[in-house]
């Protein structure tokens, strides 16, 4: 596969390490009342879609960017590649 890195352009998927569902960005609030339950769900519950999937890839053999790749799990078509940092900020993550 080829991943179109937003900074470096098209790169072979072999340069990357795969992590999984991009929802791992949405780490729960540790102070919430049900924090243990929320962390359990965050860590262990994933959708397994046949189709579009937003997922985290790490450019380990490259610039060490974490990317959010939108990929069709049936065809491997990649429709968007974003810097995970930008996605994290959009989802309200900060310090």
């Amino acid at each position: 596969m080829i991943i179109n890195h937003p900074i470096l352009g098209p790169r072979d998927a072999q340069e990357f390490t795969y992590l999984g569902d991009a929802n791992l960005i949405d780490r729960p609030d540790w102070r919430a009342e049900n924090a243990i339950k929320a962390f359990h769900d965050y860590l262990h519950l994933r959708d397994n879609p046949a189709g579009e999937h937003r997922e985290l890839w790490f450019h380990e053999q490259g610039d060490r960017s974490w990317l959010v790749v939108t990929r069709d799990t049936l065809t491997h078509e990649i429709t968007s590649v974003e810097l995970a940092r930008d996605v994290a900020r959009e989802r309200g993550r900060g310090k």
Partner: protein, 984 residues
């Protein structure tokens, strides 16, 4: 003349004669020959024995789809089994042997299997050898494996080199037949970057085997001229002897280039084969078509071959399989073979065409509306029996029979991304379906355009269209005039009869076997394939799949497209394992990382151990030491007695900088870091988000906004990855930057009561490292050896007064040598990872054995370190109820009650007098060593409620090794429990 079946003409160079042997006999051929064409020219039709029945076999085809003519090529370490004689280029001195035959190809003892065929039908091994079970492994399987099989491997290391390479192009064209060449000409003239891959040694494809001209020249001449123009253009890379084996995601193709297979052995410095990864923006599949046979009784005798193959042997290689031949066809293309054979002066005994309205043939007897129903000849075809239109039978003697059942487009690569081919009733064959791999177009015979004119214009058109999508304007070249014959064919798959008629010659699958599978309810095509093994092995059913489908369709009363088709997967043709391995063999299988003082350690005779990709010195034997324990005990005692040096360069080192660096470390470590003063080091424990401990190390604060973090050797990459995840995905607004600096610094532990004295001899006088100025857990940037920058950390893994000193990597070797030199007066010794391990067990420090992926901070006795006042990875889930029970495991020390007994790591702890089973398991021993300081074995382990059980006697049982020892629960800190030595 020995080449009794050599004809005039052809694309072989008669000015040179090549000598070769087959089964020890000498033969001659010419450059341009394949092994199969040269053997045929020498009158040899018998080239192998079949897989199951050991039936005599000769070549069915003239290409890579060959199921029968499989030989051992070369000898010794270069012996290669299952080589297809039909694509083996002849070279002088070529050595080939038949396979699957004993004692000889002509008299094969296991041909007895052929008489037992009633017992060896489809799925026989599932039925015949069911009982008794023990017989399967001991008797049936070895016997079957010896009897059924193909070539043998040499069991020697392959002496040749295989390489891997990467190529990029605008347009990849797969196949250099008429369609591929015209596509390449179009794209090449438009200036596109083109790769033209061809499995044959020269361009032309089917043009090389045909006599119909392209305008005023032969097809082969035209192909040569086009090649000349393409190669001269510079933007087209023509790759002969290169098979595209797979279509992968996003326009990536795999290709195998056989760089040296046509030579006795590779030229110096050249690989045998190269596995290419080709990145293409667009691709055109112009892989041509493969002819298919018609099944009839005993249709597998040497001499029976595909009509197009026989035409190729006659036209391209000037070799005929026999002087008297016959033709069996259901279509007009078969008649071309008749025409060309007659033109070459071969006697055509009969043309048998299943169509009642078959076209006339000049120069041969035509039997229209007739079928071939049987054949005879023990080691080669002697005659065929035909059934005439009126039902009468007649025998015709001939040494070879050309068979044509029509042509199947080579759709294989269109299916590699789950695409399914579609049935085209017009040519009675599968053509590419709609769902092609991204960026792929198909042209020529591969698309079902079976005329030369159609291929030429189709290739050019496909190139124009593909380039248009890339913004490159191309126009079709002036193409030569070529034959444009429409396909005229009557679908006909097998002649009815009761004898065995072969569908898949490679796997000995007959029409009967397919019927049997159907009777036994194997209705799906995929089940049929697995039950009968049809379409498996070297040829992957290239000549047999559609025939078998037609029989299935007949049996089920469905049409062929309703019956389905099996999925084609890469590789298109077999690929040697060595090609996939490339240079990643033996020691090169993965990188080996060496520390800067590796050479120094080697000079000292160090014994090395693998730690991840690294080699680390395990111990340094001295003359006279015959057992590793002698070396390790000595190293421990010398270090604890005076001073020792250990190379710790392999530990991961990560530079953390930025205004929020301390805050960042606070989040990735379970314990706190915000309050760590500048100039101090702190131990840090990292948890996974599920609360389990996964790595530990130290963080040294060199400045307000600058830390250096260390990790364990094997987790260095993982920790760095996780830190980047935390930085970019979880807390993107923290002002912090990371860099891996593992390889930037060489680092050494200097441990023992004289360690400071040793260091004072190399640390420049401007830096005071006395106990007051540089106390336990201090760190700082200093210079050594008159101005070399260095970092000094007063940390200890051994429990002694100890330091770690780091210098830029290129000075590591020199620093090691200098320390050995100045330390001589203290009898300094180097120590390896074993002594390191003994000392950390004596001190009770956890390491990888304790941080084993199942243990928490609580288990490790560090529960109180996990801060409840801050957010950090893993702290929330470390509070899970199940991880915090009363009887949770705790790290303890263990010593044998009888000091002469060993403590064995991996032993489980059981109560005295209690049962030894999982239900009564109290814990387990993780690390064990002989302590030369204490004079007996010691261990670390996890024990339920371990913190409150000091003094208890337990059984350490190890049923695997048959060891049971009584052990006493003690503190994990065997040596200097108060840590006084660290602070002097």
């Amino acid at each position: 003349m020995t080449q009794v079946n050599r004809l005039q003409g052809g694309l072989i160079s008669r000015d040179r004669t090549l000598n070769f042997t087959f089964d020890g006999r000498n033969y001659q051929g010419h450059p341009g020959d394949t092994l199969a064409s040269a053997l045929l020219a020498n009158g040899v039709r018998l080239m192998g024995r079949s897989f199951k029945y050991h039936r005599p076999r000769g070549p069915l085809t003239a290409g890579s789809e060959e199921p029968n003519a499989l030989v051992h090529l070369r000898s010794g370490a270069r012996q290669e089994p299952n080589t297809r004689a039909t694509v083996t280029e002849l070279y002088d001195g070529l050595e080939a042997r038949s396979q699957n035959a004993w004692p000889s190809l002509k008299f094969d003892a296991l041909a007895v299997n052929d008489c037992l065929s009633n017992f060896l039908t489809a799925g026989f091994y599932y039925k015949t050898f069911m009982w008794p079970a023990i017989f399967w492994e001991k008797i049936y399987e070895p016997v079957i494996r010896r009897a059924a099989g193909l070539g043998e491997i040499s069991f020697e290391d392959d002496p040749d080199v295989y390489d891997k390479g990467f190529l990029h192009c605008d347009l990849l064209i797969i196949g250099a037949g008429p369609a591929g060449l015209s596509a390449a000409l179009t794209a090449g003239r438009a200036g596109a970057r083109v790769i033209l891959a061809e499995e044959d040694l020269r361009p032309g494809g089917r043009l090389l085997a045909e006599t119909s001209p392209l305008s005023d020249q032969s097809g082969a001449t035209w192909a040569e001229r086009v090649r000349g123009e393409l190669v001269a253009a510079g933007n087209v890379r023509f790759m002969p002897r290169t098979t595209v084996i797979g279509a992968f995601d996003h326009g990536i193709y795999g290709a195998v280039e056989r760089v040296s297979d046509h030579l006795p052995q590779p030229e110096a410095g050249k690989p045998r084969q190269v596995l290419w990864r080709i990145y293409s923006k667009r691709a055109i599949l112009a892989a041509g078509a493969t002819e298919r046979p018609i099944a009839f009784a005993n249709n597998d005798r040497p001499g029976v071959m595909l009509a197009g193959a026989m035409r190729a042997y006659v036209n391209r290689w000037a070799a005929t399989p026999a002087q008297d031949v016959a033709l069996f066809t259901n279509n007009d293309d078969g008649h071309r073979t008749a025409r060309d054979l007659i033109a070459k002066g071969v006697n055509l005994a009969a043309v048998v065409d299943v169509r009642p309205n078959a076209p006339k043939v000049d120069g041969a007897a035509l039997f229209a509306g007739a079928e071939v129903i049987d054949s005879s000849g023990r080691l080669g075809l002697k005659s065929i029996r035909i059934r005439l239109r009126n039902g009468e039978t007649r025998d015709i003697s001939c040494g070879a029979l050309a068979v044509s059942g029509g042509w199947n487009p080579n759709v294989h690569l269109t299916c590699h991304q789950r695409g399914r081919p579609a049935w085209d009733a017009g040519i009675a064959a599968f053509v590419p379906g709609d769902a092609l791999p991204t960026g792929m177009a198909v042209a020529g015979a591969a698309k079902g355009d079976l005329s030369t004119a159609g291929a030429l214009s189709g290739g050019a058109g496909a190139a124009v269209q593909a380039l248009r999508t890339l913004g490159i304007t191309a126009k079709p070249p002036d193409l030569p005039e070529a034959e444009d014959m429409a396909v005229s064919l009557k679908p006909f798959w097998h002649a009815k009869g009761t004898k065995r008629a072969w569908l898949d010659q490679q796997n000995d699958v007959t029409v009967k076997d397919v019927k049997l599978a159907h009777q036994e309810n194997f209705i799906s095509v995929e089940h049929l394939k697995r039950y009968t093994t049809l379409g498996m092995a070297i040829d992957q059913g290239k000549t047999s799949n559609v025939g078998a489908l037609s029989v299935m369709a007949e049996l089920t009363g469905k049409s062929i497209p309703e019956t389905g088709t099996t999925i084609f997967r890469p590789p298109y043709t077999p690929v040697a394992m060595g090609t996939f391995a490339g240079r990643s063999v033996g020691k090169e299988f993965r990188p080996t990382r060496l520390t800067p003082s590796h050479k120094w350690a080697e000079e000292r005779g160090a014994v090395f151990v693998e730690a991840g990709d690294w080699l680390r010195a395990q111990w340094f034997p001295k003359p006279g030491e015959t057992h590793w324990r002698q070396s390790v005990d000595r190293e421990v005692l010398a270090t604890r007695g005076s001073v020792g040096i250990c190379d710790v360069t392999t530990l991961g080192k990560i530079d953390v900088q930025g205004a929020d660096a301390a805050e960042f470390l606070n989040k990735i470590y379970a314990n706190g870091f915000v309050k760590l003063p500048v100039g101090k080091v702190r131990y840090g424990l990292m948890l996974r988000e599920d609360g389990v401990a996964y790595d530990d190390g130290t963080a040294a604060r060199l400045a307000e906004d600058h830390f250096v973090v260390t990790t364990t050797t094997v987790n260095a990459v993982l920790v760095y990855r996780n830190m980047e995840f935390a930085r970019q995905c979880l807390w993107p607004d923290l002002d912090v930057q990371l860099a891996s600096i593992t390889e930037a610094w060489a680092q050494y532990a200097v441990a023992g009561p004289n360690s400071r004295k040793l260091l004072q001899k190399i640390v420049d006088p401007a830096f005071d490292i006395s106990n007051d100025a540089f106390p336990f857990m201090a760190c700082g940037e200093i210079t050594v050896c008159d101005g070399l920058r260095a970092r000094l950390f007063r940390i200890s893994f051994s429990g002694e007064l100890a330091y770690e000193i780091a210098v830029p990597t290129r000075y590591g070797d020199a620093l090691m040598r200098r320390m050995a030199e100045v330390g001589a007066e203290f009898d300094v010794i180097p120590y390896g990872t074993e002594a390191l391990g003994v000392m950390r067990i004596e001190k009770g420090h956890p390491a990888g054995n304790e941080l084993n992926g199942t243990t928490t901070a609580l288990n490790l006795g560090m529960g109180r370190m996990v801060s409840k006042k801050k957010d950090c990875i893993g702290n929330t889930l470390s509070e899970r109820e199940g991880l915090n029970t009363e009887d949770a495991l705790r790290l303890v020390g263990l010593r044998p009650v009888d000091p002469t007994n060993p403590v064995v790591a991996g032993s489980h702890l059981m109560a005295e007098g209690g049962p030894v089973d999982a239900a009564h398991d109290q814990g387990y021993i993780t690390s064990a060593a002989y302590s030369p300081v204490l004079g007996h074995s010691i261990g670390l382990g996890f024990l339920k409620r371990g913190g409150a059980r000091k003094g208890e006697i337990l059984r350490a049982v190890n049923p695997l090794e048959g060891v049971e020892v009584a052990v006493e629960v003690v503190s994990a800190h065997f040596v200097d429990p108060e840590g006084e030595k660290l602070r002097v």
